[in-house]
């Protein structure tokens, strides 16, 4: 049995400082026994011969200098087994659903090792989400990490759920297993997710980790790591395709800042710790496909941008790590358009490897580029119209202006249960492009215009 120390010297925020210990390992798991008989858990942040700094996950409320501290001699591990599916666990991995404890097949370190880049397979399997703005213009592929950049009061939860519901890889009926990690979201929001999982039967193939708004903030630092460990286990040991939804990354980063402040670290931009990039990378990078293993981990995180500011450190650092972003627009939301995805700042870096003749359709890239260019131009013209009025525009410009409106109304807008396949999405794109003069379609190869442009397509069909 390990020794119990009663040598707490100082308690500051979520940290305790313990002295006169035998050598304690860095990152080791710690149990703290309170006078009232309860136990809290923590982790070693700094260790030396003189003093050991421990962060306490459940918060330091109720702790005093008389508490007993036990160092377990091992780092934090998650007991895993296939029975995780269908379970609801707390943010630190304890069952919340009244079910039995997990009988582990294995116990895995939650920090997870980095995948050797040489062992990775470049992701390229197209995931059809049924949402035009994503499938058509910001295509998601299996093994990608693509967050939603949203803001408070925007329907990011609906979109995330629609994606979880509709996502599938074409040509296979295989459904995604979902690992859902809530970090500091409200009880109401959590219930909204849970109800939808139950309604659609998704819960059976889901693992849920809940750290709610009133749970300790420090716990948020391990919740996503538990979730990703579970996801990696299901993907790499049980050949499942896993979709991980982490919400909300902003709450995670707030917890990180809180810890940094408690440790009196030198703060970086806006008070966030200087290592936030590395820390976020240790979460986001745990997505991918590994050579020779059947499963995959795809990440779809939700991040609410403070003040809708995309240059805020949280979305900014995320954007540098993730493979693109889906940006939700308040302007479109106010116009009553669902899903209010603003395609212009949105991006999927892995799109090009997931589309094309063998994966979606040969004209996909060209159509997407043309839609982007035309919509960008139309949106610019809106600014101009506000100054000079519509009459001052040339006929060409008027067409582009109209195009932007139609694009939002027909391509972006769709129902919360409307599941468009990729062909439908591209065909809608063509219908809209057909409203522009054909000579303006400079991004599209002539052979695709002949084949897919509604004007020519009709002729072709008549000939046959």
């Amino acid at each position: 049995m390990t020794k119990e120390y009663k040598t707490i010297r100082e308690i500051a925020g979520p940290l305790i400082f313990v002295e006169k210990t035998e050598p304690v390992g860095y990152n080791e798991l710690v149990n703290i026994n309170l006078p009232d008989g309860t136990t809290k858990r923590g982790q070693v942040l700094d260790t030396s011969d003189d003093i050991v700094v421990v962060q306490v996950f459940e918060g330091t409320g109720g702790l005093n200098k008389e508490c007993g501290v036990r160092f377990t001699g091992e780092t934090i591990k998650l007991p895993v087994s296939k029975d995780l599916l269908g379970r609801i666990l707390s943010g630190s991995g304890e069952p919340l659903d009244g079910g039995p404890r997990i009988v582990p097949e294995d116990r895995l370190e939650i920090t997870g090792a980095a995948i050797n880049p040489y062992a990775r397979l470049p992701p390229k399997d197209f995931i059809q989400t049924g949402i035009s703005t994503i499938d058509g213009m910001n295509t998601l592929v299996r093994g990608q990490k693509l967050p939603i950049f949203s803001g408070s009061g925007l329907p990011h939860n609906e979109i995330a759920l629609q994606i979880a519901r509709q996502s599938k890889v074409r040509g296979s009926d295989e459904q995604f297993a979902v690992v859902f990690a809530a970090m500091g979201i409200t009880n109401e929001e959590a219930q909204y997710f849970m109800r939808d999982f139950e309604r659609t039967g998704a819960l059976e193939r889901a693992v849920v980790f809940l750290n709610l708004a009133d749970d300790p903030a420090v716990e948020r630092l391990i919740t996503p790591r538990l979730a990703l460990t579970a996801a990696e286990y299901l993907a790499y040991e049980h050949d499942m395709h896993v979709l991980v939804i982490l919400t909300d990354i902003t709450n995670y980063c707030e917890a990180l800042r809180q810890m940094g402040a408690a440790r009196e670290e030198v703060p970086g931009r806006r008070g966030y710790p200087g290592y936030m990039y590395t820390d976020l990378a240790s979460l986001y990078e745990r997505a991918g496909v590994v050579k020779g293993r059947k499963g995959s981990v795809t990440q779809f995180s939700i991040l609410s941008m403070p003040g809708d500011d995309i240059t805020h450190p949280i979305p900014d650092l995320s954007g540098y790590i993730t493979e693109g972003q889906i940006v939700i627009s308040r302007e479109l939301h106010r116009k009553g358009i669902y899903p209010p995805v603003n395609v212009l700042p949105s991006l999927s870096r892995l799109m090009n490897s997931g589309i094309g003749a063998t994966r979606t359709r040969e004209d996909h890239k060209a159509v997407s580029d043309q839609l982007y260019a035309a919509y960008a131009e139309g949106k610019d013209l809106r600014g101009l119209v506000a100054i000079v009025g519509k009459d001052a525009l040339s006929d060409r410009d008027k067409k582009f202006l109209e195009f932007a409106d139609m694009f939002e109304d027909r391509f972006v807008r769709q129902g919360a249960d409307e599941n468009r396949d990729i062909e439908t999405t591209l065909d809608i794109g063509w219908e809209l492009l057909a409203e522009l003069p054909e000579a303006q379609l400079t991004r599209i190869d002539n052979k695709y215009i002949q084949k897919y442009h509604p004007a020519h397509k009709a002729k072709e069909e008549k000939k046959e």
Partner: protein
């Protein structure tokens, strides 16, 4: 002298050890597992060490051993086609020894000790050799001949030289002083390799990217920075440069970037052909991948590992280009370690020595006369990832003070899918003047004028656009409307380039010249027609104008352009007829 000590304190990648006699930058083996680390500070009995591997589970009191060596790379045949982590451990070897995930406590040699190379001597017994001299060659890949060099600090008379198949650590040459030379040599990464003289760069690095070669060229041996917010195409541009640059050797450093992107490079490079030699691009490439979730101290080292390998090939007389994606991640690694050391922070938490480290690094570029007498060069192209796309932050600003070429990526251009999203108004190249002679001689005497006219037109467009924003384009006089149209053609037909299109991904200098010339020719003809009384509306209907938009995608460019030029003549003749 004690070379055994023990761990005193652990805080993330920073470990403090006591009781060990160390020098700055000594490599030490930390803990029972012998994790690799480097001494970065000494205070009294204690030394501060940055550890290149994950430190979870390490305990105070574990043993530490000093190797007495500074962090070095192994240089010799076998570097090409390799993929290393930040401290030159080959990733395929790591995969074999520890599986799909990077674990720790595994050391691996940078160069294979098993493989035999066919050594052909170029010196004979009795020859005097000095540091940096070539003593023999090895055919490393189909097109690259590896020149075996005498280490820079060694000289003497050859006593014995061998010929035939040898491993990199077998003796191939003995000097009369008894010094034994192998094909492999080691060099500390933080120390620049010596050269005999630095020269002025005077040849452009041809990249096959129109906006770079055409408007903002970088010279071989020069330095360039690509700053841009996320999603503006830094990585794609860097990869295009790695693929198509006309240097003999390419060193690509993925420093703190995405794992999937590195996987993409790894699967793509062996498939792609070098346009010059027709051989797989991988055969001239060294990749260094330290992704964002790999240990941060190794990320800090990766940039030095890369540039030392580049210097080694330069010393053989090769032109080398080095891409570092991204130097901001490198700077952040410095910041992270600095804050763990509780150093006094400079601007935005970066250490005060940030500017010094950046300039030291970029200064290792250049065109040189190597010790062996041959000329070689290193062109350094660094990506910068400014937070929020704000170029006023310390890494961008300190970089811009050093580099000569600035390719400013622009999120607005990227959003409308204008790629490469390099802003033609903000970017600059200080080599343009120095390279003019080369362009006149090797491309065309007309080139410089053509380029300057195009730049002027783009500048004029920007001014006119401001007016258009106020009054609409119809309110402009006809000749200005035409100017706008020609500028648009330059932007869309010439500057835009599709990295994913099989033909357009690379554009030779000759093709760039012809394309720009054809667009300008159309512009001149249109101006003449306008002056001759034709209406803008009629001119805009020109079919050859639309044809010019797509001619860059044609496999047989010259033939297609020929047809267009012919049609252009006829079209404008007709306009005149009206």
């Amino acid at each position: 002298m004690k070379n055994k000590g023990e761990i005193y304190r652990i805080s993330g990648p920073v470990v403090i050890i006591s009781g060990l006699n160390t020098k700055m930058y000594d490599v030490v083996k930390v803990g029972k597992e012998g994790l690799m680390g480097e001494v970065i500070g000494i205070e009294g009995e204690k030394s501060t060490v940055q550890v290149y591997e994950e430190t979870s589970g390490l305990r105070p009191g574990e043993p530490v051993e000093n190797t007495g060596m500074s962090l070095s790379v192994e240089l010799g045949p076998g570097l090409l086609e390799s993929i290393y982590d930040g401290i030159q451990r080959p990733l395929p070897v790591l995969k074999d020894t520890m599986g799909d995930f990077i674990k720790r406590g595994v050391s691996a040699n940078g160069l294979s000790r098993e493989k035999e190379w066919d050594f052909v001597p170029t010196v004979k017994k009795g020859d005097k050799v000095n540091g940096g001299d070539i003593i023999g060659t090895v055919q490393e890949t189909e097109n690259i001949q590896h020149r075996i060099l005498v280490p820079p600090n060694v000289s003497g008379t050859v006593d014995e030289i061998k010929k035939g198949k040898y491993k990199v650590d077998e003796v191939i040459c003995t000097l009369s002083s008894g010094t034994e030379l192998m094909m492999m040599q080691k060099w500390p990464v933080r120390k620049p390799r010596p050269v005999s003289k630095k020269l002025m760069p005077n040849t452009p690095l041809i990249t096959g990217q129109r906006i770079l070669d055409g408007l903002f060229p970088v010279a071989k041996g020069g330095t360039a920075a690509i700053p841009g917010p996320f999603g503006s195409g830094k990585t794609v541009t860097q990869q295009q440069l790695a693929k198509w640059s006309d240097t003999e050797i390419v060193v690509y450093i993925g420093c703190g970037e995405r794992g999937n992107e590195m996987a993409d490079v790894l699967s793509e490079f062996p498939e792609l052909e070098d346009p010059k030699t027709g051989r797989p691009l991988m055969e001239r490439t060294v990749l260094i991948a330290n992704t964002s979730n790999m240990p941060v101290a190794a990320r800090e080292a990766s940039v030095y590992t890369g540039i030392t390998i580049a210097e080694y090939y330069r010393d053989m007389g090769y032109d080398v280009s080095l891409m570092a994606d991204s130097t901001s991640r490198w700077a952040e690694a410095m910041r992270e370690i600095s804050s763990r050391l509780e150093e006094m922070p400079g601007e935005e938490g970066y250490p005060a020595y940030l500017a010094a480290r950046l300039s030291e690094f970029y200064e290792r570029s250049g065109k040189v006369k190597a010790l062996c007498g041959k000329e070689g060069s290193i062109t350094v192209i660094g990506a910068v990832s400014p937070p929020g796309g704000d170029f006023s932050e310390p890494v961008t600003q300190n970089t811009l003070r050093i580099v000569k070429v600035f390719w400013a990526l622009d999120a607005k251009l990227a959003q409308r899918r204008h790629f490469p999203a390099i802003n033609w108004l903000n970017s600059y190249s200080l080599y343009s003047k120095a390279l003019e002679d080369w362009y006149k001689e090797n491309v065309s005497p007309e080139w410089v004028k053509l380029r300057n006219d195009a730049m002027e037109l783009l500048q004029k467009e920007a001014e006119l656009q401001e007016i258009v924003q106020l009054v609409g384009s119809d309110a402009l006089p006809e000749d200005q409307q035409l100017t706008l149209e020609i500028a648009r053609m330059i932007r869309e037909y010439f500057l835009q380039q599709n990295a994913y299109h099989e033909v357009d991904t690379f554009c030779a200098m000759d093709k760039q010249f012809k394309l720009l010339k054809a667009i300008t020719a159309w512009g001149d003809k249109a101006q003449t027609a306008l002056e001759g009384g034709a209406s803008v509306e009629d001119i805009m209907k020109s079919k050859t104008k639309d044809d010019l938009a797509k001619v860059k995608f044609e496999k047989d460019f010259d033939a297609a352009l020929g047809v267009i030029l012919k049609n252009m003549e006829e079209e404008f003749a007709k306009l005149r007829g009206k």
